[in-house]
């Protein structure tokens, strides 16, 4: 009864989102819809300098001329941009100097998610910049970090306190006119994180930010900028869970990374936005532009992502390998279940000589979901002796889901080597039976097999994240069996 087995997989993959709850916090929000006034409202609200308003308006005007892209393997009802609140911030009761002053409900929300700021602070030595509803509420460890000359703060704070750095680097990797969603973000972005590691400094702790969407009908437009100067090193982690919602929520974030000579940036993400219910209603639309530039020679940027959430994911973390001998890496696990759709992958643009890139992508599709890998490896004329290795594996659970691979390769010189491997497999009935025969439940067996399959990527995550990510993989595929 092979169909029985499919039924089990169906059951197992049909569990409801476990992190669905809503916090009631007083909002301070922009009027509904998008216009030049909205853009000015946001900029004024944030008390921004003139150059920021100009940047936003330039982007807004560009955006009006653009059209939503349709090339991705994604289907969704048209997004009504006049039906979105583009800015919402929790009202600060007063200046926040310590944790005691943070809205207790906020703390409770974190606790529900298992992310207590206190614990984070005491136990893990991780500096947390908690972004709730677009505004950074609390930044920890800034003092420790400032001893090293490291700046780690909200994007808004950076605009106020380090306008020169913002002016110099914002939009230098993802220009305001880059693509529909990035341009939208450039016009209306609310907040995000800023991180600057000065020359020769190894950031002594993992930096992490937890994002969370919290207001009904609030688009989330995060903007993150990370700069590693010559010889600097930083490992940055971004993770999120979101409360359950009926309406679709638009999320269009930008992450820009600049690595100068000999610098290294590791960017890790665990993405667990609300994926919608079993019927495919609700869930986050996640259109993200993430790009890094290896500007100096011998620099390195790696993206590691574990994507389990969102109704729709549109995301291609990329590296521009400009410096000679620079290295770009992309390690990804993307899980889609029920009616989730993911179109994700990476772009590696080789411009410098002897540049190397690696792409390891593991897609896991269950339910009625669609999981696509889309990648571009471009090796330009001057990028002599460059190398790329790409491996795209798809794992199918059940027979109603889809997996697709679209690797684009452009090589303009003959001294470079590009390798691409792709596999598609199923969790076999044999593997499940073997585990079960040892006393392992179907759920745990699927958890084991899936985590084994994704191991190569999970191994790239910082320790703190790896455990969380493993649990998340199992949770997003588990259900009530027997």
């Amino acid at each position: 009864m092979a169909t029985d087995n499919n039924n089990i997989i169906n059951e197992v993959t049909n569990s409801e989102y476990k992190y669905g709850f809503v916090t009631d916090i007083e909002m301070d929000q922009a009027p509904m819809g998008l216009s030049e006034d909205t853009v000015r409202f946001i900029s004024a609200k944030k008390n921004e300098p003139e150059f920021m308003l100009e940047f936003r308006l330039k982007a807004y005007r560009k955006w009006l001329e653009m059209e939503e892209p349709t090339w991705a393997h994604l289907h969704h009802p048209p997004i009504n941009y006049q039906d979105i609140i583009f800015y919402a911030a929790p009202k600060p009761k007063k200046e926040l100097a310590s944790l005691d002053e943070v809205d207790p409900q906020l703390i409770e929300t974190f606790n529900k998610l298992g992310i207590s700021l206190e614990e984070q602070k005491k136990l893990s030595g991780v500096a947390v910049d908690a972004v709730i509803d677009s505004v950074s509420v609390k930044t920890t460890f800034t003092e420790t970090l400032s001893k090293y000359g490291i700046i780690f703060c909200s994007f808004s704070e950076a605009v106020q306190n380090h306008p020169d750095l913002i002016k110099k680097y914002m939009g230098s990797v993802v220009p305001y006119s880059d693509n529909y969603f990035a341009t939208l973000n450039s016009a209306v972005f609310s907040d995000g994180s800023f991180c600057f590691i000065p020359k020769g400094v190894r950031c002594p702790i993992e930096l992490s930010t937890y994002f969370r969407i919290n207001a009904a009908n609030t688009g989330q437009f995060e903007r993150t900028l990370i700069i590693a100067e010559e010889g600097a090193y930083v490992s940055y982690m971004e993770g999120c869970t979101a409360p359950q919602r009926d309406e679709n929520q638009l999320h269009a974030a930008i992450v820009e990374i600049v690595a100068l000579q000999d610098a290294e940036v590791k960017y890790s993400t665990v993405q667990n936005w609300y994926p919608g219910n079993k019927k495919g209603e609700g869930g986050i639309y996640n259109f993200v532009t993430k790009r890094g530039i290896c500007k100096g020679s011998n620099s390195k940027i790696s993206w590691t992502q574990v994507e389990t959430g969102s109704a729709i994911t549109w995301k291609y973390p990329s590296v521009i390998l400009l410096g000679d001998n620079s290295v770009g890496e992309f390690y990804s696990v993307a899980v889609t279940n029920n009616y989730q759709q993911a179109d994700t992958g990476s772009k590696m643009i080789h411009l410098g000589k002897n540049t190397k890139s690696t792409i390891i992508s593991k897609g896991i599709s269950a339910g009625f979901s669609e999981n696509s890998y889309r990648g571009l490896v471009k090796i330009s004329k001057n990028a002599t002796n460059s190398r790329n290795y790409s491996q795209c594996d798809s794992l199918l659970m059940g027979d109603k889901c889809g997996a697709h691979t679209w690797p684009y390769i452009r090589t303009e010189n003959s001294s470079s080597i590009v390798e691409h491997e792709a596999t598609t497999s199923k969790i076999s009935e044999d593997q499940l039976f073997y585990c079960q025969q040892r006393g392992i439940s179907t759920e745990s067996a699927i958890g084991l097999i899936v985590n084994g399959y994704a191991k190569e990527v999970l191994n790239k995550l910082p320790m703190e994240f790896a455990v969380e990510a493993q649990k998340l993989l199992s949770i997003s595929l588990e259900g009530s069996v027997g």
């Binding site: 079960q436 025969q437 040892r438 006393g439 179907t442 084991l448 985590n451 084994g452």
Partner: protein, 250 residues
């Protein structure tokens, strides 16, 4: 009575493979099942373990006096049924240690016990690895991935040692083993024998039965046990092949 199988019929995709198997196994006993290729030996083992690709269409299986057919696969395992696979399965990326820890702890959970503390678990692993002479390296590798045929079989016995089952069904665990490995595997099985458990070995070769001496030998032929006897029967089969049994049956 540990296991009592009566008139068991099982089919796959509408094709009947088991056509009325009867078998009784008591604690402390070793049974050997022999028979030509494709007669249903592995199918019988799978049906006892609960593999759902097979439909049981008739008959009953009692285990410890309970209706075994009503239990899901993992419950049967936790109740002490162990299947040594004829073709052990590879699970890439899952270390033997992680796999065994999950199995041991899920079986403990079934019995209402707390998970084994990490230290104790590792000690248990060490002890059992020695018993089947498995190298440390093997245990750190992914489950069966890239194992040689013989290593896979040893690994089955290692898992059996870890899980301490009440009823072990070893499906051609001897095939593909070199002489030393055969001795090691057989020694492992013998060390694990007790008056409280029972072993069913499926084999084509009398050779194994020199090491693991059976109390009963059965011949499965075209989905039925057509002949049973003592250990001499195995010798007789070795000598005469299955033709004379076919002739006797038809």
């Amino acid at each position: 009575m540990l296991l009592s199988i009566k008139n068991l019929h099982a089919s796959i995709n509408g094709k009947e493979i088991l056509k009325g198997v009867n078998l009784e196994v008591n604690k402390g006993e070793v049974h050997a099942i022999m028979g030509p290729n494709g007669t249903g030996k592995s199918t019988l083992a799978s049906v006892i373990a609960g593999r759902d690709v097979f439909d049981v269409t008739e008959g009953s299986v009692l285990y410890k006096g309970k209706n075994l057919l009503a239990l899901p696969v993992e419950a049967r395992a936790s109740e002490g049924i162990f299947l040594g696979f004829q073709y052990p399965v590879e699970i890439p990326g899952v270390s033997m240690t992680n796999f065994m820890r999950t199995a041991v702890n899920e079986q403990r959970k079934y019995k209402g016990l707390d998970p084994l503390p990490a230290g104790e678990f590792l000690r248990l692993m060490e002890e059992k690895k020695k018993m089947v002479e498995i190298t440390a390296k093997l245990a750190n590798r992914s489950v069966n991935e890239g194992f040689s045929g013989g290593e896979k079989k040893k690994n089955e016995i290692f898992q059996m040692a870890m899980l301490e089952p009440t009823l072990s069904i070893l499906d051609e665990t001897d095939s593909g083993l070199d002489i030393d490995a055969l001795r090691i595997v057989a020694n492992g099985v013998n060390k694990l024998r007790s008056p409280e458990n029972a072993t069913v070995v499926i084999t084509h070769y009398q050779r194994l039965l020199d090491y693991i001496v059976p109390d009963f030998v059965h011949v499965l032929f075209e989905g039925k046990i057509v002949k049973s006897g003592g250990k001499e029967l195995a010798l007789e089969l070795e000598e005469k092949g299955y033709e004379w049994i076919k002739d006797a049956v038809i």
